[in-house]
Symmetry: C2
Amino acid sequence: MPSLSHKATQMPASPIRKLVPYAEQAKKSGKTVYHLNIGQPDIETPQVVLDKMHNLDLKVVEYSHSAGFQSYREGLAKYYKGFNINLNPENEIMITTGGSEALVFAFQTCFNEGDELIIPEPFYANYNGFGVTANVNVVPVTAKIENGFSLPPIEEFEKLITPKTKGILICNPGNPTGYLYSKEELETLRDIVKKYDLFLFADEVYREFCYDGATPYSALNLEGIENNVVLVDSVSKRYSMCGARVGALISKNAEFMAAALKFGQARLSPPTFGQIAGEAALETPQSYFDAVIEEYVERRDILIDGLNKIAGVTCPKPKGAFYAIAKLPIDNADKFCQWLLEEFDYEGETVMLAPATGFYATKGLGQQEVRIAYVLNKASLIKAVKCLEEALKVYPGIV
Amino acid sequence: MPSLSHKATQMPASPIRKLVPYAEQAKKSGKTVYHLNIGQPDIETPQVVLDKMHNLDLKVVEYSHSAGFQSYREGLAKYYKGFNINLNPENEIMITTGGSEALVFAFQTCFNEGDELIIPEPFYANYNGFGVTANVNVVPVTAKIENGFSLPPIEEFEKLITPKTKGILICNPGNPTGYLYSKEELETLRDIVKKYDLFLFADEVYREFCYDGATPYSALNLEGIENNVVLVDSVSKRYSMCGARVGALISKNAEFMAAALKFGQARLSPPTFGQIAGEAALETPQSYFDAVIEEYVERRDILIDGLNKIAGVTCPKPKGAFYAIAKLPIDNADKFCQWLLEEFDYEGETVMLAPATGFYATKGLGQQEVRIAYVLNKASLIKAVKCLEEALKVYPGIV
């Protein structure tokens, strides 16, 4: 049998997936499991999208242009204009198969083997996988829970910059922290990017999910680094249509876009059905977002207030996305999350959480932290928090 | 501005796309252009698929499992059983975003930088792009038009095998040649694969398109190399739904499949809409395929007979897919194809062909050859062949 590649060995298995068999076993044994571990929202996809799909008048499900349907790119240009971002739909927007493909194309286009990419941790675990795919070395800079996961100081970035450093990647608002960078923090990043001539990859798929009156500030709004900024976007969370697998890769850097398109041409086109859905979603009424934001704010408040009332638990209040990282008085988050599924129940119920260890690249960090996605309705969230409270009374590894 | 990667430079631009501006210009000037250059069939998608999409009862367009919907994998296992291929839907079938993603995952899972992959040329041009993406060196073994593009002799393969050789890739039935490998040719490949312990990647997306009573023989039907065979499949051509972007990566090699799934997990899931369409397509009645095959056979016969009647033109009769490679009495296929669009018309009409140079990795080959996709109706095909005949009377570079 021929051997597999080094990448196949290095490719990380999802830290959450290790828990899946335990969750299945828990359900088989009759327990109710509240899934706070995943980024799959329960929110309904906008009706305009479902209507569009019901009334498709295709006869042949054809390829689109490799950069996506022109009409969709034009629609997206209008969408971004609403955020003071001016884009040419001809060559500054490329539709991709989810934000995932946008990141892979961006990495392939920018990085040579051994190049370094700085990412504030904790970060979305799949960035590691995309790093392996593109042979780039991920270099973490630690954001601290005691600072609410704000951007680490500029000196911390500068300590990490080497001749191999080629870019910085941020997720804003952030998964897994829910942290929303301020304009000032982004300007700090701009200064570093400019000083060292780096790429700034900005994953802004949670743009619409900003709370308490906060408005999102895009990396593309930063002046003076137009050729450095690469924006990654997706319809997945915005319209609760994760399965559409439609995203976008965006940059004002013409050379970058032309090269990325070659990767896009090799795979022919992004999904046609998903693009039709994405284009229809641009007509989603503001009332949809208002209702969704209201729902998430209520959920967040229930969750964060509930968590912070539990003895020994601290959880900064996130201003965006629908995740939070909580610090728990436990010995080991991986053990705890498995124990919750395998050994614990409170009145026949338990909760599935994501150990935060999977979101840190620095070994040893996140062992007392879990990521909680508030993608369940309020009644379930209240019960899930109660489960967690009861669990922390009896978990043998309390510290 | 930060520099781009070596891959960005090496990534080939599609050879056909260079002609696109000339085609656009030709149309602007009022010419009718018959597109025989692309693999986008005009055949209608099966009605069962369109009906399914019209009656979707989704409320949330969710992610699927990273290996695709379980029900779809089970349906595919039944489909393959019809070809005497027994697969476990749990872990031997992974749904991918088109055949393209299946190939990229296969390459990433198997190859280290500098490993070598032997491919009979002429071959599907995007294999080059996927090779660049995975840092694998593509090594061509030339199939000759005078032999009808049959498998090169075993000695030709063995001459190319080095310690770096890790696999052989075939497309069967073939794009761009339409050649269908016999059972004996596949057994020859099996012997090489076994002797040198290589991977055999088999792109079988045209499986249903076999003519003149020929039946397809899959690489997965070969005995004794179960751990070496990796099958790539796609719904794109089978059901004329290229835009669905749904394919599959299949192997009996458990270690390979487990590693490939990690790449699949990083990108979360294949497209949900496309998978629903793909699963519905499994119910396509045989009458659909009968009609499609009949149509393609008639088109092929019109095309091949027409071409071979033109002085100086030879075109082997393909037994599969919907492509043919023709040898023309011309100096340079790239120049000729551009000239057809830019300078030629016959009664206001012209034809767009793909220069075969883009399908050969050996520099200098294919300069007198073009690939023709018979994806137009018969009336158009007749006119397109007439255009070509007239063009060859006046093209200045006739040899």
